[in-house]
Each structure stands twice: as C-alpha cells, then as structure tokens.
Amino acid sequence: MADQIRVRGLRKQFPKVLAVAGVDLSVARGEVFGLLGPNGAGKTTTLEMIEGLTPPDAGTIEISGLSWRESAPEIRARIGVQLQATSLYNKITPKEALDLFGSYYPKRLGTDELLDLVQLKDKAGAYHVTLSGGQAQRLALALALVNDPDVIFLDEPTAGLDPQGRRSLWEVVRKMKAEGRTTMLTTHYMDEAEALCDRLAILDHGRVLRVGTPAELIASLGIPSVVELTFEGAAPDPSAFAARLGAPVEVRGDVWEIPTPDPKALLPRLLTAIDVERLVYSQVHVRRATLEDVFLHLTGRSLRE
C-alpha cells in the first residue's frame, strides 16, 4: 500500500515551547490514523503543519506524493480539513456555506448529499448563529468533505458532542474509509481512538512515543488486566500496602490501580493484604487494560491531565 501521508523529522519551535520535536509518521491510503495525546502534546500543531496551516521549522511532508512547497494549491484541492474550532459568517446558512466553499474546488460533493450525511437537512436554510454547538460541528464536518477529498483531517472532531453526536460522526468516518479515503484525526478520547482508528500514534511533549494498532499498543504493555480499588474520598498512601502485596500500586484520584498479567493469582493475595492492613475501600474491580493504561505507562500521566 502506498503512503498517502509521509512525514519525516517534523519540528516546530514556538517562542516558549518546542511544540513538535521531530515527528515521523506514515499513513497508508484508506487508513484511519489517530494522533492520541493529552492537551499540549503537539497533536494540533503536528496536524496543522501537515494541513499546510503552520509552516514547520524542519522536516518534510508529502501528501499523495506532493509537497507543500511545490504543489500547495493541488494539495489544498485534495484535502478536507475540520479545524478545532470552525468560525463562519454569522448569517450564512449551511446550504450557502457548502455552496460557497464548494465553489473553491475543482470537484465537489453535492450540497444535499452532504447535508444528508451530517443530518442537517432540516437546518439547510437556518443562519449559522442559530445552530447548536453540535449542529455547527456537523456543518464543519460537511465543509471538510465538500471537495470530495482524498485525505481528511479532523482535529478533535467529537469535542463537545453528545454521545449520539459522537456515534454519528464515527459512522461518517467509517463511511469515508469505506469509500477509500484516508483520515487523520486527533483525539484525547481513548474509546474513540480504539473504536475508530486503524492505527495510532501516541504523542507527548511533541514526540511520537509509539505507533501501532490499538490492539498492538495494548498488547505491548504485557499487562492484560488492571485491578482497581476505589475509595470513598481521596485514596490513602499505598506504599505500605504495595510492599505487603509485592506489586506496584498507582494512585489515580480516589482509585488505586494495580496492573497485573495474572489477576487470578493476584486477587487472593490482594484480599489478604486488605485484611491485614484493615483497608476500608468501597469497590474492587478487575478490568482489561486500555489505551489509557498504555499512555499512563509510557508517560506517567493520564490522558485527561
């Protein structure tokens, strides 16, 4: 499979922070590729450099084999972009906005088809100011697809959407994938990343920490399960308990997390330790490891922090 997006050695220094510190990425045609990371990880800056919005300090970017320096208008004609916040004229209607933006491109999808796709048909003639946050977000998505793009960039596409809105956006992304388009998106929702992305890059401090399919990334932890002890109020200091248990205990808010490759062996020891330490907890819970754990393991921080 040919690479639709190829990025090598991308760097961006802002006055006070090195936002992107050498990023390499390859995205195959037809893939849904996610950039996962906490706020400030460099996801948006990386995406905006690939979209041609922010000039990189160093590095090369190729989209469909074209480079920004030589073929900017051609690239722009082929990509569809949903920025983190899309601002439009207050008194433009979705239909007019799609017609206007569509007129910038050599080829385009039909306005009605797009309104249907993002379920805005009944709002086709409403002024943009009167749309709800979710409706405006869906219009922004439709605008990103107006040029029948080969490559779609979505920056936090589901931020601020309700669960149903997120689900229907996922449907649109899957439909685009089924049509052979390539999608690159950023998110800090691990469930979204897991449900939607063929492959992911985990970013932190402007670097790619790991790339792989969600399953590969979770498997790479070597810890299929996590035992969680929930407390009422703040969790106590776990050091004595961890020593008795003979396993590491991580504190996250009011929860102790104990990663383990073998919960069957851990649980009896855990219950004994609880008895001995006279620990008062409210719940015990065993779950499989998620991308969140991968992230925690790689960075020592939670995604939402």
Binding site: L53, V81, L83, L88, Y89, K91, E96, L100, F101
Partner: protein, 365 residues
C-alpha cells in the same frame, strides 16, 4: 488520485465574482451594518440640516424684564426692538428670574435706575452676543427717534460660503463632511474591525486550508467596500438634492476622484490598523482613539477656526481634514483643487504610509 476529471482549479475571476456576491448577500443581512452605512448618514443630514435650517438670520429670543412703569423711552426701545430680527418676550421680574435659572434665557434686558443692562448667559454666549448686538443697535435707533435726530444706518449683512457660490445652508456644509465620515468609518470598522474579527475567530484559518487564493478573498472584500461607498455617497447626494436642493457646485469628475482617493486612503488605513491588534477588544480601543478625534476635530460637523493654533495645526495633518477641505472646495464652492496641493500631499502621505504598513504587517492568523 481518485479521478482525473475536475482537477483544474476554478478560475480566479469566477472565484472573485462568487466571493463578491457572497460578501454582498451576507452584508445585506447585517442590520447593524445597514443602519450605520446607509441610514445613519441620512439621519444626520436630515436631523442637523433641519435643526440648523437657515435662510435669513436665526430668530433669537430676548427676555425683557417688565419695568415697574413704562416710560416713553421704554416704549420707543421696545418698538425699535420689534423692528429688529429679535423675538422679544416681556416677563415680570419673578418669571424672568425663573426662566433664567432654568438656563433657557440667552440674553435678558433689565432696567437699572434710569438706564438698561443686558445680562448674557455664560453657557450661551454666542446667541447672547448676537442678541446683545441687535439690542444695542435698537437702543441707538430708539434714542435717535426720541431726540428727533436721523436714525443710525444699519450695515447690510450677506451670508455666503468661502467660494462665494453656495448658500448659507448648514446642510450643504454637512454633505461633504458626512461623505468623509462614511469613508473613515468604512475603513476603520467595515475593513479594520472585520479583519481583526475574522483573524481572531479563525475565519481566515478556515479559508487558508482551501485553495481559494488569498488575494481573491481580499480583492472581493475591497470591491465590496468600494461598491458600498459608491452606493452610500450616491444615496447621500440624492437625499441632499431632494431634501435640501443641494447640488455639487463643482466638477463631478473631481468629486469622484477625491472620493476614490479618500476610499483608498481609509481602506489602507483600516488594513494597517488591524495589524496592531489581535483581539476585537484591543482593536475597538485603537480604532476609537483614531475615529473620535478625527470625527470631532477634522471638520465633519464644524470648523475649528476658533480653536487654538496648535490644535488647528495638529488636526490639519490628520488625513480627514485636508480631504474635507478639498471636497468642500469642489462640492460647495465649485472650485478646482488649486491651492490644495499641500493638503492632498498630506492625504497621499497617509495613503502611502497606510498601504506600506498594511502590506508589510498584514497577518492572516
């Protein structure tokens, strides 16, 4: 590559036309912009034009405190006052005092001993002095009549514009002023403010990821503002003609050329100023700092002929003052631009400075 047909970008001309049409459609939906652009100048013209409607000297009221006893001299004075253009209102002392205390009286005539005294309201000195002058003249007439000597002659007064052509109408003075004010607010608000808002809210960023060339977007905006100015000025001239019978006394070509020069200057100024602010709030402060001094001091509504020299001098180097002087010379006096070289050079300097700043500092994001 998905499919080969339709890989050619739309022509810039088609884009420009579409963008221009979209600008107009969205602009027409903005009620605030419609009001300030088209209605407000007309309201100003009709409002001030009617308030200060002239044709003959203004009628001023002189309050006369009723004397305890009307003497022959009082009667002769009153008669002479009646022949002047003053409206005389004779009131008992208490009522006259009440009126004075309210601040409505500009000049009051009182009897003191066997003579008279004029009391002028310090807040309405201009009207008071005109009334006082007329009253003094009437007093001389009355005295001459009582003495049986020949009446003093009045010097005839003619009101005329500096170019000897136009009438004394304030509306005629106002029309070029409002044309200039329109250009100033177009540049500062419709261009500068809109640019800052688009940048702050990320409209430019959204456009920047499309293949729409930036120059097409900017040119469409400029063309739209220029057509707005043409429409606005035409409307104002039409209203002046129909409402007050005011017409351009000079060459329409010169008038149009000046408006074009002013439009270019203030457009560039709006773009230049927009580069000094990153938020609408900051821009609001900057633009008001520029707008209000020019609106008040550059001769839109009145001339600063009585202001201190240093103030006149500093105002005359702002772009609006020389522009309005030249525009009034053409419109009100039917003159050419001879003698306006220095003023037009100032305007040109502002245009050049603004243009350079706009081009060098303009930011999309």
């Amino acid at each position: 590559m998905r499919d080969e047909p339709g890989t050619r970008l739309p022509s810039p001309f088609a884009l420009l036309l579409g963008q221009f049409r979209s600008e107009w459609r969205l602009y027409a939906r903005d009620r605030g912009a419609m009001f300030w652009t088209f209605l407000f100048p007309l309201l100003m013209l009709f409002g001030f034009g009617v308030i200060f409607r002239s044709g003959g000297a203004p009628t001023l009221t002189l309050v006369r405190v009723a004397p305890a006893e009307e003497t022959a001299r009082d009667r002769a004075f009153l008669q002479a006052l009646g022949e002047s253009h003053l409206k005389v209102e004779t009131l008992p002392a208490a009522e006259a005092e009440k009126r004075w205390a309210k601040g409505e009286t500009s000049a009051q005539l009182e009897s003191v001993g066997d003579g008279y005294r004029l009391r002028l309201n310090s807040y309405l000195v201009a009207q008071g002095q005109v009334a006082a002058q007329a009253a003094s003249q009437a007093f001389l007439v009355a005295q001459a009549r009582l003495a049986g000597s020949p009446e003093p002659e009045r010097i005839p007064v003619v009101v005329e514009s500096p170019g000897h052509v136009h009438s004394d109408s304030y509306a005629a003075f106002l029309v070029p002023g409002l044309v200039g004010l329109n250009l100033l607010s177009m540049g500062l608000f419709a261009v500068g403010m809109v640019t800052v808002a688009y940048r702050e809210k990320g409209k430019f960023r959204r456009l920047a990821v499309t293949p729409l060339p930036k120059w097409v977007f900017l040119l469409a905006q400029i063309l739209h503002r220029v057509t707005v100015v043409v429409l606005q000025t035409t409307l104002l001239l039409l209203a002046a003609r129909l409402g007050f019978g005011i017409t351009n006394q000079g060459s329409y070509l010169l008038f149009a050329a000046l408006v074009v020069a002013g439009t270019a200057t203030f457009l560039a100024m709006g773009f230049a100023l927009s580069s000094f602010a990153s938020t609408v709030e900051t821009y609001g402060a900057i633009s008001n700092l520029v707008f209000f001094p020019m609106m008040l001091l550059s001769g839109v509504y009145f001339r600063l002929d009585n202001a201190p020299r240093w103030m006149q001098a500093s105002v005359s180097i702002l772009p609006l003052s020389p522009f309005l002087r030249a525009l009034r010379a053409v419109f009100n006096d039917g003159a050419t631009l001879a003698g306006h070289g220095a003023g037009l050079a100032i305007l040109g300097a502002w245009a050049a400075l603004s243009f350079v700043l706009a081009v060098r500092r303009f930011r999309w994001v």
